[in-house]
Amino acid sequence: MAELVLSSEARLEASPSELFALFGSGDPSLGWLFGSEAETLRPGALVRLTLPFGDLTRSPGTARVQRCKPGRRIDLVHESPWAGRVVCLLDPLSGGGTRLRIHVTIDDLEFLRLGADFGLLSGADVDAWEVPLGLLTSLSGSAGILGRSTVNCAQLATDEINADGGVMGRDVRLVVADDATDPGVGALAMRRLCRVSDMAAVIGMHSSATYAVTSPMAIATGIPYLYTPTSEATAAHPLLIHFGERPLDQLHRALPLMAKATGGTRWFLTGNDYSWPRAIGTAAREVIERMGGTVTGERYVPLGTQDFALVISAIHACGTDHVVSSFVGQDHVRFECEFSASGLRGTIRTFAPLMDDAVVEHLGPSGVGIWNALGYFVAMDTAENREFLRRYEDRFGECAPPVSAAAEGVYEAIHTWASACRSGGGTEPSALLGGIRTAGFRGPRRCGRGGSLESLLLGEATPSGVKVLDELPVATHSL
């Protein structure tokens, strides 16, 4: 595989050990690289970055420590907004300074993906004997920090399908595009995916704000759109196929269980300001009113909010027992960390419909005690899940980002797509739509035919991941 290698260097007025200590410090200008922030530098540790990428605002990014030699060398794996390997070498200079060299390696597929997402390249060439399968997800912007495991899980499913002979004898070729957690960028990315010759289907793992602009494009171009995240959106056309958890399914059993655990009756509803968090708010009101509770306040803030002090003081001022927190990506991480730092975590319980293992890794101790109900958590104790996690680790190594419910949903959707194509007898939309009702895939989730969820897991964030508390059947009324 061809690779791009970029080398940068600087001579700095600090000793190698001083510079090494500044790495991961979180200082916006001294915490190199890109204001890096890391709890530890042990192999596999998450490094949070702020990249000068995106328009006007800086994009959050993530990397992971592969290995390091104190004072001499740090090896990182870049995860978002793009994938690459980064080697940082610190050499002492006579006179006390340091020569810092950074070598970045980006493989050709990721380079083509990035060039296409920048709007500069036309994207990967797909060979005629391959079946192109699109993946539209977030690798930059607020939700980008959780994106790499989604791409990994899509790649894993594709590799498994190809190792098994492909679909109808043809290898599946994954084409990835980034919506930058922005509907406008998402529309450009979707347009590019839809223009790929013979695009078999697009897997969507992104916000419903992007979905609102991209789903009509799928219908207009006749390309099946398999939408996997938890969502309020309705599949209003045969080409739109939904796999994710519905707001009422997530809330209608879990919120009463939380109220029972706390003995409280008061709820505050908050989240980012777009259709999905507001749909969670509507569903939460319905459930809370049905169980005789009260909504003490409701507040939504724009995606990309940096400071949640106003929301947190509103929660504090109105007096509440619980918070339903529907934030996305970096906003979710920032809100929960500020909420915890304010001391409210000890007295107010939180239900967060996007909390999964990847989010919990970002939250660390700040997230302990948050609940959610999803189709998948890493701690799910089944033979299928153990096998899935083993395959993920074999493929991506111990330093890979943890699997999230969002990412695992994409893995299952791609396998279900392949199964539907096989039962429908082809990869064209009509064959897929013919086969989807009877398609089956035995993955970690408890799914029926066509990938419909039969039960959710109730999970609680702990310092070491999400603990499974209970299994909740999915009600038929909201399917």
């Binding site: 791009l4 970029l6 940068s8 260097e9 600087a10 001579r11 700095l12 007025e13 600090a14 200008s29 001294l30 190199w32 690289l33 890109f34 990249l51 000068p52 990428f53 995106g54 328009d55 200079l93 006179g95 300074g97 810092l100 950074i102 970045v104 980006i106 380079f111 990035l114 060039g115 920048f118 709007g119 500069l120 390249l121 036309s122 960028v185 450009l188």
Partner: protein, 124 residues
């Protein structure tokens, strides 16, 4: 001791490419080979003709596009291959990060009271 000097082309390239609309303009020019301001503006509903002109000026000063005059029309085309532009952008993202670190360290050292011979050109 001074920092590794910034390549001025790289800085301008970086600022030019950090903007999504400018990248989209480059993409459109690359797709068609050569376009006039009007042809470019007609492809962007949300961006006015004046804004497109100012984006084109920034791209031209960054060396990413060239202008050819033909009567009252100005035609724009890419100066380098789009792949080279992506490489230049990525390289400048990392190089700029080191330049900023260098400036921050110089500032911290100066603030700590150490005598530092400061290169004036470094202050950017």
């Amino acid at each position: 001791m001074g920092a590794h000097m910034t390549d001025p082309i790289s800085d301008a390239t970086f600022s030019a490419l950090a903007d999504q609309t400018r990248r989209a303009i480059l993409g459109v020019i690359g797709e068609h080979g050569e376009l006039t301001v009007g042809e470019i503006a007609s492809r962007f509903d949300a961006v006015g003709r004046t804004a497109v002109s100012s984006h084109l000026r920034i791209l031209r000063l960054a060396g990413l596009i060239t202008e050819r005059r033909d009567g009252r029309y100005r035609h724009y085309s890419l100066t380098s291959t789009p792949a080279d532009t992506v490489v230049a952008f990525l390289a400048s993202v990392y190089q700029n990060s080191l330049e900023q670190l260098s400036a921050a360290i110089t500032e911290a050292v100066a603030a700590a009271g150490t005598t530092v011979q400061r290169d004036d050109e470094l202050s950017a």
